[in-house]
C-alpha cells in the first residue's frame, strides 16, 4: 500500500458513493499526485485486485468495498434515481451460478451482479428521484 493507493482508497471512502476514475483523478491531482489517467486507473485497479474496492460496470465507476476483511460475493443495487449504490452479499446466488456454469463446463473466475432500480427512498412514491 503506497501513498497514492492509500489516498485513492480514502477518496472513495470519503465520498460514500461510486466515483468515476476521472473524478478520483481530479482529487488526487489536487492532493499533489499525478494528473494523468493512468495514475488513477492503476491505483483503482490495484484496489479492485486487492478486494478493497469494486468496479461498477454499469456506471463505469468505482466504490470502496464496505467489508474488505472477509472474502465475499458482492452484488450491487444501483438506484437509477439518486445514483446511490448499495453493496450486498449474495453467497447463495454466487454458488448457484457457479454450479450452473460448471454444468456447462465453464469455470467462473469473476462474477458481476448489478441491479438497476429504485432504492427505498426513491421508490417510496417518488419516481423523480432525490439527488441530494
Amino acid at each position: 500500500m503506497t501513498p497514492v493507493r492509500r489516498r485513492t482508497l480514502e477518496i472513495l471512502l470519503e465520498s460514500h458513493r461510486a466515483m468515476g476514475a476521472y473524478d478520483v483523478l481530479e482529487r488526487l491531482s489536487q492532493d499533489g499526485y499525478g494528473n494523468q489517467p493512468p495514475v488513477a486507473y492503476r491505483a483503482l485497479d490495484f484496489l479492485v485486485e486487492q478486494g478493497l474496492a469494486h468496479r461498477l460496470q454499469r456506471l463505469n465507476a468505482f466504490a470502496a468495498c464496505l467489508s474488505p476483511d472477509r472474502d465475499h460475493a458482492p452484488a450491487f443495487l444501483i438506484c437509477r434515481s439518486c445514483d446511490r449504490v448499495a453493496e450486498t452479499d449474495a453467497p447463495v446466488l454466487r454458488a448457484a451460478f457457479r454450479e450452473t456454469a460448471a454444468e456447462r463446463g465453464f469455470k467462473v473466475e469473476r462474477l458481476t451482479v448489478e441491479a438497476v432500480g429504485l432504492c427505498p427512498a426513491c421508490g417510496d412514491g417518488d419516481d423523480t428521484g432525490a439527488d441530494a
Copy 2:
C-alpha cells in the same frame, strides 16, 4: 423493424460473438449505411429494448439474443481467453436476487449477471486461449 435495424441484427447474428458498437458501425457503413456512431448506437439500443440483443457491460459490446422469443433472464459466461460469450438462462437466480433486494426495499428493474472465466475449450488445459 427497418433496414438498418434488420441489418444490424444480422451482423450480430453472423458474427456469433459480442461486437463493439464501432465494429458494427464499420460493417453497416460498408453496406451503405451511415458511418457515424449514432447510427450504430440507435440501432443497437433499439434491438436491446426489443429483447433481440443484449449489451455486455464488461465488454462494452453487444450480442444477438439467442432466444428472443421468450421472456428470459439472461446471464452471460464470457471467456477471457477466446472472448466467446455464452448466454444462459438463470430464472431461479434472478428470482432469488429480486427477493433479497426486496427485503432491503429495493425494486429491481434490470439485472446484469456476467461471469468472466474460462470456457470448456479454453479451460481444458489451455490457459493461453484459442482466439480462432
